[in-house]
């Protein structure tokens, strides 16, 4: 919605004047800048640097945690465009739109350019020397146990340095927080298979049943899964895989599925157990204790609980029985409840019963350097930090790579609690909500200016160390890399150990070169090894597959029945994770705001998605401003009526609603994180993201939604351009 007075028409008018001015100056040739512009001029250059001709350098994408290899086109010392690095087994030369927008994270005009120290309400620019001295003074003045680091997922040499710094301080408090990580699924996998993140072989599966895992959009490693998905759809033997997506709110993956089943929220585990029961009845061998647990999940009961028709359950069971190997995936939709662990366990059990473990659920490789292995984040970490802060146990807090003030639910009172921390240091690229609360803000190099190594959590083949190297000179002299800052801090504490390293680059080079044997460079000299490493952008490591353990067991598995009706808050809120905005850290990249949401085609805003039946019941039409209120708060946004959602569900996308983060993000849309209720998964203690109940009411206004699709939505105005048929008229198991 466009609320201010500068509307579309006004915008076009101004554009018209602008156009006229441009045309006028074109006539007088004043756009020609003889004697004004400078020519590209170098002091020294490599032979391959030719003005106007691009040179490609390999690096690693930092837009999400998937860790795709990228190739940046650099011309006249400026990085212009990113492509995928073919040498990376994660993305094999491909790239997503989020990754493409990486240049906008780099050239963003709202980047912080020098260290800022709080002076009342303002940040005062100070030198790095003073900033690092101040940190030294502050950490020296408190007990080590009162120092805490809150970071996103970290890996590689930065993680190793961070650990060394914490050791040097004598503190072990490192909280790793990721707002939308699949942490409950990791715990369930650990229980079922003995490992947190098995390799999923979508390409080997003949049927995929995904319980809300948006693996084509925003789940774990979407570019990699999209490539596997292509092979799954067009296998070498010509057999086309069938994808069934079970979820309460349609995701991009759901939109690509052969069959999309709208399930009553929270009942995913019941359906999984019902499928095991149906498969056992059809003759699949199921261990005795599992059979005993699932036998009460008759198709009729499961259909009643989940809202999926008995016919569809029967067909799904038949499909799974007929076509093996299959793959069942538990996504964020299944794990987002207080019984999320049980849901995920039931889904893992279905995989085991189907015999997929070892076939489509494979063991990953061990990482040869455990100190560089990824530290993956969860929501429990923020919860425990928040508790410690509330009890005045944190005196100095460092924050890196996360924006908890934006992503924490309001009911957590994190922003208020943070005021109790006497000294807060935030490492940041932009003034985000968390940086605004800081006492000291340290500006970081962008991912395209910085040195680092990274080991992604999900690697497709073997183990892999990604190299992140500068694609161009720093835009602002006042920023520093995270590695450089940690090294400078370590020099304060352990000067003897680190004084030999002039900067993080020399540390990194020396660390890599001294281990070149294990990094595949045994027979080469140091320079050749290092040049090859930088040129390839990835180092493939020889990893041995870890052992997968665990046999199908239903011990301790109690999946609760469907939710009771709640007359005060009748709807379930699903905070949707979109492929572009994720947890909101990229909301200040205009390309991402401008690219339409794949399902609703809405741009530059948030919306409240609801089923036409729900909308009719509430008297809401598209564009009505509605208030979505939970027990923890309320937000107002434009309503969007859409059939790809369960009638009991209201969905609001995450990522927008920033109060800071610069000109492209501030004031756009609403923040659905804020109204999440404090309900936690019973086993892991993770915040249950889908557990919030809401009520919806009209707020009175109505706006025209800015979106790409036509005014009549997908109904083609009755012209039958693309003819379609309802899914219950198609017998997929008969067709494929």
């Amino acid at each position: 919605m466009i609320e201010n007075s500068f509307n579309r028409r006004g915008f076009l008018k101004v554009l018209g004047w602008g156009g006229a001015t441009v045309a006028l100056s074109g006539c007088g040739n004043t756009s020609v800048e003889d004697g004004k512009e400078f020519v590209t001029s170098y002091v020294q250059t490599a032979d391959y640097i030719i003005p106007s001709i691009g040179t490609y350098f390999n690096s690693t994408c930092a837009q999400c945690d998937a860790g795709c290899g990228i190739m940046g086109r650099v011309r006249e010392g400026r990085v212009l465009k990113l492509e995928g690095n073919p040498k990376s087994s994660i993305n094999n030369g491909k790239m997503c739109g989020l990754g493409q927008a990486g240049v906008q994270a780099h050239y963003n005009p709202d980047r912080i350019r020098e260290p800022l120290l709080r002076n009342g309400d303002k940040g005062e620019a100070i030198t790095w020397e003073k900033a690092l001295g101040l940190i030294n003074e502050k950490v020296g003045g408190v007990k080590a146990e009162n120092i805490a680091f809150l970071t996103g997922g970290v890996s590689g040499h930065v993680k190793a340095l961070l650990k060394n710094y914490l050791d040097a301080l004598g503190s072990g408090h490192h909280y790793v927080y990721e707002a939308v990580a699949p942490s409950i699924m990791r715990a369930a996998n650990k229980k079922a298979y003995g490992i947190e993140m098995p390799r999923l072989r979508l390409d080997k599966a003949k049927v995929i049943v995904s319980f809300g895992a948006d693996f084509l959009g925003a789940w774990i490693s979407p570019v990699h899964f999209s490539q596997q998905y292509a092979r799954f759809r067009k296998a070498d033997n010509g057999e086309r895989g069938v994808l069934v997506q079970v979820e309460s709110k349609m995701t991009l993956t759901g939109a690509n599925a052969d069959r999309w089943l709208a399930i009553r929220p929270g009942t995913e585990g019941i359906l999984a157990l019902g499928l095991i029961n149906a498969l056992a009845a059809a003759g699949l061998s199921v261990p005795g204790d599992v059979a005993a647990v699932v036998k009460e999940y008759t198709t009729d009961r499961v259909s009643k609980d989940t809202g999926v028709s008995t016919e569809h359950i029967g067909r799904l069971a038949a499909l799974l029985k007929e076509r093996s190997p299959s793959l069942v995936i538990a996504g964020s939709a299944a794990e987002g409840y207080a019984h999320g662990s049980q849901n995920a366990t039931a889904i893992a059990l279905l995989n085991q019963v189907l015999g997929n473990v070892g076939k489509t659920v494979e063991a990953p490789s061990s990482v040869p350097f455990p100190q560089m292995a990824p530290a993956t984040g969860n929501r429990l970490a923020l919860q425990s930090l928040n508790d410690n802060v509330a009890q005045d146990k944190v005196k100095v807090l460092f924050t890196y790579g996360v924006n908890p003030v934006f992503t924490a639910p309001a009911s957590m009172k994190l922003k208020e609690n943070l005021k109790k921390v006497p000294f807060k240091v935030v490492f940041a690229h932009y003034m985000d909500e968390t940086a605004l609360e800081a006492d000291l803000v340290l500006p970081l190099n962008s991912a395209l200016e910085d040195w680092a190594t990274a080991m992604p959590e999900y690697v497709a083949e073997g183990a892999q160390l990604n190299i992140q190297q500068p694609l161009m000179e720093k835009l602002y002299p006042g920023t520093l890399g995270m590695g450089d800052i940690l090294l400078a801090l370590l020099k304060q504490r352990r000067p003897d150990e680190y004084k030999g390293y002039e900067d993080f680059y020399s540390y990194l080079r020396s660390a890599m070169v001294s281990n070149k044997g294990a990094l595949g460079g045994l027979a080469t000299d140091d320079d050749t090894f290092w040049d090859a490493t930088l040129s390839h952008g990835v180092v493939k490591l020889a990893g041995t597959p870890v052992n997968m353990s665990g046999s199908p067991s239903a011990k301790g598995l109690v999946v609760p029945g469907p939710f009771a009706e709640d007359s005060a808050y009748p709807f379930h809120l699903i905070p949707a994770v979109s492929a572009s905005l994720r947890d909101g850290r990229n909301a200040n990249e205009p390309w991402l705001q401008e690219s339409p949401d794949p399902l609703t085609t809405i741009v530059w805003d948030s919306w409240v998605e609801m089923h036409p039946k729900t909308a009719a019941k509430l008297g809401i039409v598209e564009g009505d401003i509605v208030e979505v209120a939970s027990r923890s708060g309320a937000i107002k946004a434009q309503a969007y009526v859409f059939t790809g959602i369960h009638p009991d569900v209201i969905s609001v996308p995450l990522g927008n609603g920033h109060e800071a983060l610069g000109r492209y993000a501030k004031g756009i849309g609403v923040n659905a994180f804020k109204i999440l209720d404090s309900v936690f998964d019973k086993e892991t203690g993770e915040l249950a993201m889908h557990e919030t109940r809401v009520k919806v009411s009209k707020a009175g206004q109505r706006v025209v939604i800015v979106k790409d699709e036509g005014p009549a939505g997908g109904n083609q105005m009755g012209r039958k351009i693309a003819v379609r048929m309802s899914s219950n008229k198609v017998n997929l198991s008969g067709e494929v």
Binding site: G16, W17, G19, A20, A23, L24, G26, C27, N29, S31, V32, E33, D34, G35, K36, E37, F38, V39, T40, S41, Y42, V43, Q44, T45, I50, P51, S52, I53
Partner: protein, 219 residues
């Protein structure tokens, strides 16, 4: 012509100023088309054109092109243009040589080492700062001129002397100190040459025109 009139009517709908602009533009175009007609002669024509001096550009160092590239009889070194403007044959821009190239020769030329310009040059070198040369030949951003194509055609295929080939557009640089734009570099001026017949290569009697498609330059 239909395109022209549509553009005109479009601009009538627009602001007055725009209209004025397009009218001037269309008169120019009509003029071009008329003059194009009169060029329909098949023999190879000389490529020289009238001069149209650009503004004087003040450079950080007053670089003497005459001393470097000028005739030996006039005290010049007769250095090939492409010795310094080395990118011209392989890039769309001719480029300015990196400072290391200047220093590469001048560190061995003791005789001029203490002259003001060379002292300034070494100051830049010692500070490791690139010389902020100003652009002398600029084109609007919607025009893409490719040096490589022209150098490959005239110097390497047709075997023309380098200074003559560069001089078609840049004038007689070997007689100047700091370069100054000599030719209009306008679209009409480009087209006037693209419509002439040029031999395909040094030995062939076959001739051809320069490309005439809009997208060759406006991409």
């Amino acid at each position: 012509m239909s395109m022209l009139s549509r553009r005109q009517s479009n601009c009538l709908l627009g602001e007055l100023l725009t209209m004025y602009c397009f009218l001037r533009f269309s008169i120019l175009l009509v003029g071009l088309i008329v003059s194009a007609g009169s060029y329909a002669v098949s023999a190879a024509q000389p490529l020289t054109t009238a001069d149209d001096l650009g503004p004087k550009v003040e450079q950080p160092i007053e670089f003497p092109h005459d001393r470097h590239a000028g005739d030996a009889a006039k005290g010049g070194m007769q250095i090939n243009c492409m010795y310094c403007h080395t990118y011209a044959r392989r890039s769309i821009v001719a480029g300015i040589p990196p400072l290391q190239k200047c220093i590469g020769c001048h560190q061995n030329i003791e005789s001029v080492r203490e002259t003001p310009r060379i002292k300034k040059l070494f100051e830049y070198w010692e500070a490791k700062k690139a010389v902020p040369w100003k652009k002398v030949h600029d084109l609007p951003d919607f025009v893409r001129f490719n040096h490589e194509r022209h150098i490959q055609r005239f110097v390497f295929a047709q075997n023309k002397p380098v200074q003559e080939a560069c001089g078609y557009c840049h004038g007689d640089v070997k007689t100047m100190t700091v370069a100054r734009r000599q030719k209009p570099l306008s679209m009409g001026w480009c087209v006037s040459c693209h419509q002439k017949d040029h031999p395909v290569d040094a030995t062939s009697t076959k001739t051809t025109h320069g490309p005439n498609d809009c997208w060759q330059c406006h991409k």
